[in-house]
């Protein structure tokens, strides 16, 4: 059994706005093991980013942490340490964790790069913040090593270029190199390939997977693209209205989804083999999180909603030892309802491809 490096327990985050308190994250719990890639999937506004910000120690002025624990285990200067990221002081967060043990990659690489500084220098600066006493020769070696590691061939040219001279995919590679300069144990990727083209997306994902494998890196992927999730994730957490509504291995989620919201997400993305006239959609919009939610937050949009969904919130039902879903459909009293026809056919076909 691999060790758990991150444990989020009952995290609740709200934001105060002029409209009232927005309860963005409403009791989130998950675990991340060493070397594991976890995906947080959901529509925008489901609390994906809001739940990751506290892990990165990012405090916004109107952010309120209502409850919860974020237990992080890492190899600190004094050996293995286990801390609650919500309780440790800012100085420790800055010196040992943020950008050191936990690094982050964003959707737009330009936000993490200094447009006025050459690539080589930027990476060198990043290295210097974590390893202080390197000679300039050692530093240059380390920079070259990092650029090489993210799969860029012409190292010398790139070192002397400015961010704007690089393509989107190259910039994202540089951002990854900078993120890895401190040898982190956890990498958080917030929609890292959304701005990139499919061919380049495939290459960046491949790079992240390779690094994850080679360095035993744990990765949290935030994305709404299920194809990306299928490509990179070992485990998938499907989020809706600030909660995890289904969690399982990639195979569980893609081949045996149980929550109607997961069905909706999976069927809404067209498959190149489908020939449906009309794409299945999830009607309506995400609920207003300033209001108290009674029952299942997804019920008003759920074509398979039961009467009880409007009264009482479903607990997590266990499907197998690594697959759980929060839907009353899994209750023994519920009528037997199957996933939509289209999705069934698609999964049958995909399984066929796999087990042929």
């Amino acid at each position: 059994m691999k060790e758990t490096i991150l444990k989020v327990k009952n995290l609740a985050v709200s934001y105060t706005t002029y409209r009232g308190k927005v309860k963005s994250v409403r009791g989130l719990s998950f675990k991340l093991k060493k070397g594991e890639a976890l995906a947080l999937v959901g529509e925008s506004g489901c609390g994906k980013s809001a739940s990751v910000k506290p892990i990165m120690g990012e405090h916004e002025a109107n952010q309120v942490i209502e409850s919860g624990e974020i237990i992080f285990t890492y190899d600190g200067p004094q050996g293995e340490e286990t801390v609650d990221l919500l309780k440790i002081d800012d100085q420790k967060m800055q010196q040992e964790i943020k950008g050191k043990q936990i690094a982050m990659i964003f959707q737009d690489p330009m936000t993490s790069l200094d447009p006025t500084m050459k690539i080589g220098k930027q990476i060198a600066e990043a290295i210097k913040t974590s390893s202080h006493d390197l000679s300039s020769a050692e530093l240059t070696d380390k920079v070259r090593e990092l650029i090489d590691m993210v799969g860029i061939g012409h190292i010398d040219t790139v070192m002397n270029q400015y961010p704007h001279q690089l393509s989107g995919g190259m910039r994202q590679r540089i951002v990854i190199a900078i993120a890895l300069s401190s040898d982190p144990s956890l990498l958080i990727c917030d929609e890292p390939t959304t701005a990139l083209d499919v061919t380049i997306q495939a290459r960046i994902l491949n790079l992240i997977k390779k690094l994850q494998r080679e360095r035993g890196l744990s990765v949290i992927f935030i994305t709404h693209n299920l194809g990306v999730v299928a490509n990179v994730a070992d485990r998938v957490n499907v989020m809706y209205a600030g909660k995890i509504i289904e969690t399982g291995s990639s195979e569980d989620i893609f081949f045996d989804p149980r929550h109607p919201y997961t069905w909706g997400l999976l069927s809404a993305a067209p498959d190149v083999h489908d020939n449906e006239e009309k794409l299945p959609t999830i009607n309506g919009t995400i609920p207003d999180l300033t209001k108290e939610i009674v029952g299942d937050a997804f019920a008003p949009r759920n074509p398979y909603a039961l009467e009880i969904d409007f009264k009482e919130e479903p607990p997590m039902f266990s499907v197998n030892e690594h697959h759980e879903a929060a839907t009353w459909l899994l209750d023994e009293r519920a009528p037997k309802i199957d996933m939509p026809e289209l999705l069934q056919q698609r999964i049958m076909r995909m399984r066929g491809e796999v087990y042929d």
Binding site: V198, T199, R203, G227, N231, S250, G264, L265, I286, E353
Partner: protein, 296 residues
């Protein structure tokens, strides 16, 4: 009478970057869109597909080439009649639902813009009736008319963008990456809506996107753009079942599939070409209606 609503002949759009240099954003692109059909234009970002849409609707003045819309030439100098025809019969839906609506205006005023300019014959209550009708069409009720854009979700905003175009009853709608900024579930809603509107009004659609699965779903014909050149053109079936150009093939192979087992084993494709490689090539018909850019 031609069955084409739009004809693009040898369209070139160059942008000067300095006195000596020009960027050839689009180089010699030709295609036709039939009445009522959907033409999908795919390519990576920076390939020039957005520029093509903007040159057609005259946000840019094309450097060379000819664009014919409803039988009238709309590239070059526009007379008053053609200007009026272009501005009311061709409409555009934009990429970013955050920035495509004026944040200081009410939804009803945003939708009314085109009516205010081109339908002087209508009185205010008649215009408002059209606004409410079109809101219904895009699945929003009257309560949205008095709201401001920031109060709406991304998908709702994009539907307002569609309403603003549809209220003019256009013959051609250019949807420029209209779904790429939206969530998967909302993308499906918007695509269904576009299809429905097309069915109801018979307008043609130029669907510019980089998501091939969506383009396949919605399009009758597809053009593949790379580095400012149209490299392959054909029916949706021809492009997807029988892709000829190696760039098209690499694009198709890169589409992520919701299948963890096959995705994990997938190796990224490699394809590289430069503008210079394409410059001396020309389109060759490999089968009826299926054109590919190849060496002469």
């Amino acid at each position: 009478m031609t069955k084409n609503i739009l004809e693009v002949h040898h369209l070139k759009q160059y942008f000067p970057v300095s006195r000596q240099e020009v960027v050839k954003a689009i180089d010699d692109v030709s295609f036709n869109i039939e009445k009522g059909e959907t033409f999908g234009l795919v390519g990576e970002s920076g390939s020039g597909k957005t520029t093509i849409g903007r040159a057609i609707i005259r946000l840019h003045d094309p450097t060379e080439g000819k664009v014919i819309f409803q039988g009238e030439t709309i590239s070059g100098k526009l007379n008053k009649k053609n200007q009026e025809m272009l501005r009311s019969d061709m409409q555009m839906i934009f990429q970013d639902p955050m920035s495509s609506l004026n944040p200081r205006k009410k939804i009803s005023d945003i939708i009314k813009v085109g009516l205010d300019i081109h339908r002087r014959d209508l009185r205010e209550p008649e215009k408002m009736k059209l606004v409410y009708d079109v809101l219904r069409t895009v699945g929003l009720d009257e309560s949205f008319a008095v709201r401001y854009p920031k109060e709406l979700s991304g998908g709702q905003r994009q539907r307002i963008g569609i309403a603003r175009a549809v209220v003019m009853n256009p013959q051609l709608i250019i949807a420029d990456e209209a779904i790429s900024a939206l969530d998967v579930s909302v993308q499906a809603q918007v695509v269904n809506l576009l299809k429905q509107i097309q069915k109801d009004t018979g307008s043609a659609l130029l669907f510019i996107a980089h998501d091939l699965a969506m383009v396949r779903h919605i399009s009758d014909h597809i053009g593949v753009i790379h580095l400012g050149h149209l490299i392959e053109l054909g029916t949706t079936e021809q492009i997807f079942e029988n892709p000829s150009h190696s760039y098209t093939k690499s694009l198709l192979e890169s589409i992520p599939v919701a299948n963890p087992v096959t995705e994990r084993g997938k190796q990224p494709t490699t394809y590289s070409a430069t503008k210079a490689d394409y410059e001396n090539q020309s389109m060759v018909e490999v089968e009826t209606g299926h054109w590919v850019l190849t060496e002469k």
